[in-house]
């Protein structure tokens, strides 16, 4: 094919260990490329299959949420695509006369908002202190947190319930009660952000201290401006968690429907026999919860990745 006497493409690789320049023959290169193509194709096939598996439940959920309630009922069915598409379920949810859904949504939003502020402050205080300050009892605090973390969380549910009840923060007071519980011990989750503080050079503090800054000023003016990624990570985590809490939220708010969070309300629709034909409404409610959180998460994904990777590497 080649009329011109082309110089064959040669891949030259420097092998430091051998100390020689080696040359890879063009045939070998071609087969390598074919190999590469083949393995890439396999990977694409796997990735496409995985994407389908990972997205399928959510797509199905969305399909179900758009099923016509009037024509196909609200129960579970054995087919995927609705025969009639409609907004029946969403319309039903948005009418406060039908259910407390909007109220639950609002409750959860309030809880998430407060938690993201208070928890972030707690976690930052603890992680900053344990990372950058040295004082008597520091090691003791860290070991205590380690030991406490080994007790299963639901063990103390009944005690927390009655503690909250003493403060009047159950049933009708469930919203502030849940905020209190979520935040009170949140300082124990200092690990990831401590890992972050550990990576900031010590010289930053020291030079500022030499210039006469107090520790508070160092914290506020030198360190805080550098903590944006970890602050955003912490806020994101604190904001997302309350949306999924069923167990404790139902335990604190039982018997007071207007004070449920959205997880408790929706969970009951599919798991309490009193609610017949609520499945598609559950799906619609689930979509309404998932969409904003997913969007928020996607926007802040970068920070999430930094947080979990940092956390994993530093334990």
């Amino acid at each position: 094919m080649n009329t011109k006497n082309e110089i064959p493409e040669v891949d030259i690789v420097v092998d430091e260990k051998a100390g020689v320049i080696r040359e890879i023959k063009p045939e070998k290169l071609a087969s390598k490329k074919a190999n590469e193509r083949r393995s890439n194709t396999i990977i694409y096939v796997i990735l496409v299959l995985m994407s389908i598996i990972w997205l399928a439940p959510f797509v199905f959920l969305v399909f179900q949420s758009f099923r016509s309630y009037a024509l196909e009922g609200g129960g579970m069915v054995d087919y995927l695509l609705p025969k009639t598409w409609s907004l029946d379920n969403y319309r039903w949810l948005f009418n406060p006369e039908n259910s407390n859904f909007l109220r639950w949504y609002g409750n959860t939003f309030i809880i998430a908002l407060f938690c993201s502020v208070i928890q972030t402050m707690m976690i930052l205080s603890v992680s900053y202190t344990l990372s950058r300050l040295r004082f008597k009892g520091r090691k003791f605090i860290m070991n205590t947190v380690l030991v406490l973390g080994l007790f299963p969380g639901f063990l103390t549910m009944i005690t927390l319930y009655f503690l909250l009840k003493q403060l009047g923060l159950t049933q009708t007071g469930a919203i502030p009660g849940l905020i209190l519980i979520y935040c009170a011990s949140s300082g124990m989750g200092y690990y990831i952000s401590k890992g972050f503080f550990d990576t900031l050079p010590k010289s930053l503090d020291e030079s500022a201290r030499i210039d006469g800054a107090t520790r508070f000023q160092v914290f506020l003016k030198i360190i805080m401006p550098l903590t944006k990624p970890i602050v955003i990570y912490t806020i994101l985590m604190a904001f997302m968690a309350p949306w999924g809490d069923y167990v404790f939220a139902s335990y604190v708010a039982f018997g007071s429907e207007p004070n449920y969070n959205v997880a408790v309300g929706l969970y009951r629709w599919v798991n309490v026999a009193d609610y017949q034909g609520y499945f598609t409404r559950f799906c619609a409610g689930g979509v309404l919860v998932a969409v904003p959180i997913t969007i928020l998460f996607m926007c802040l994904q970068k920070y999430y990745v930094e947080g979990v990777t940092g956390g994993a590497v530093k334990g």
Binding site: G73, G75, M76, V77, Y161, G255, V272, D274
Partner: protein, 400 residues
């Protein structure tokens, strides 16, 4: 004539109630009822207040807490629980044992005894003490089916064959201690418990470990092996419904699901015997009160909410079958398809007595083993061993 009579009776009862409770009460009073009856209960409470000026200022809060949740919630924290709450019969002994139920006011108890069917009266009574007001006598189960597919609902074998031929499913929650008795009681076994006044179960009468028991267990295994069988008892969770063993509370959902082909009948026969089961009841309870005036208000309101008038109205609003004898004679009640299926099934049922809380868990274990096909290859002796084990475990639940 009947109507006039019932109005007179209702009035007479109201008067008698009023004479019991003249103390007025204007504080809070919390009620838990099933989601479906919240609106209805609100209406009834308004009527009650209108008829009782001394309670006109009472602040009644009605929350939807299902019969299943009510008992566990109120046991967790009696104080935060409702003053009056609806629950199904299987919870009664548990509630009494936890100190979460107050005995029925003696005069009301006499009225309840006179006006409600015997089964329901027995169901609210532990030893000699009455602990709750019977509300419905419809807590039993029977067969809903699609009459275009199921040709003959009189034998379970035929029902299963028809469902399978149409590629559809037969639903029955055989891993529930409640539905399971359809097999055991039907085959002629017995399982009852005797309780003392405090709600403690002191003796067991059991016949599961017998030839009849083995026969029943084999029927269960056979049903579980059928390709048409699915374990479940909720119409709206069933995806490919052809027939289901379920109760009146799902009547509306079943009517919607089957449309024109909706039909209901007593349970079929299986392996030549008529399936039996529980005839159960729903009731209203009052929790222990520390305030005499509030207590009087609770007594009066609970009695009203289970009176003939309200039971009938409840049937008309949500289709719950009354336990009140007069209400049961009502024409509409008698004509109801689901209720008459239930009534013909109840002829083969035992009125549900008291069972230890652990019984339900044990029965689920047995059912799960059957569904997991653990006994598919077991011989009669092995099955008898399983049932002996079942009985022995039940006996272990008796109060020591």
């Amino acid at each position: 004539m009947k109507k006039v009579l019932s109005v007179v009776l209702a009035l007479a009862m109201l008067l008698s109630l009023a004479s019991v409770a003249m103390a007025d009460y204007s504080g809070d009073l919390k009620i838990w009822v099933a989601e479906a009856t919240v609106e209805f209960t609100q209406k009834m409470v308004d009527q009650f207040k209108a008829a009782h000026p001394e309670y006109a200022n009472m602040n009644v809060i009605i929350e939807p807490v299902g019969e299943g949740d009510a008992a566990s919630n109120i046991i967790t924290d009696v104080e935060a629980g409702a003053d009056i709450f609806g629950f199904a019969q299987d919870q009664l002994s548990r509630l009494v044992a936890a100190g979460a139920l107050l005995d029925v006011e003696p005069e009301n108890a006499e009225i309840v005894k006179a006006e409600n069917d015997a089964g329901s009266v027995a169901a609210v009574t532990l030893g000699d003490t009455m602990y709750a007001y019977p509300m419905t006598s419809d807590n039993g189960y029977f067969l809903y089916y699609d009459k275009s597919i199921v040709t003959d609902p009189s034998t379970l074998e035929q029902v299963l064959a028809d469902c399978d031929a149409a590629g559809k499913k037969f639903y029955m929650e055989i891993n529930s201690g409640w539905y399971q008795t359809a097999f055991f009681f039907g085959a002629g076994c017995e399982l009852t418990f005797d309780s003392d006044d405090s709600g403690a179960l002191v003796a067991m009468n059991a016949g599961y470990a017998s030839d009849a028991g083995v026969k029943a267990l084999k029927s269960m295994i056979k049903v579980a092996q059928s390709p048409a069988f699915v374990n479940g008892s909720s119409v709206s969770n069933a995806t490919n419904l052809c027939a289901i063993v379920d109760g009146t509370w799902d009547a509306t959902a079943a009517k919607e699901a089957f449309g024109d082909n909706y039909a209901a009948s007593k349970l079929p026969t299986v392996d030549g015997y008529q399936m039996g089961g529980f005839g159960g009841f729903k009731m209203l309870g009052v929790k222990p009160q520390t305030d005499d005036d509030k207590l009087a208000a609770c007594d009066a309101l609970a009695a009203y909410l289970t009176s003939e008038e309200v039971q009938l109205a409840r049937y008309n609003a949500v289709g719950w079958g009354p336990s009140n004898l007069n209400a049961q004679k009502n024409e509409a009640v008698q004509a109801d398809e689901a209720l008459s299926a239930l009534a013909s099934q109840l002829a083969f049922c035992e009125p549900q007595g008291q069972y230890p809380g652990e019984y339900w868990g044990l029965a689920t274990s047995l059912g799960d083993d059957v569904i997991a096909k653990k006994y598919d290859n077991a011989d009669d002796a092995a099955l008898l061993e399983v049932l002996k084990n079942f009985e022995a475990t039940c006996e272990g639940y008796l109060a020591k």
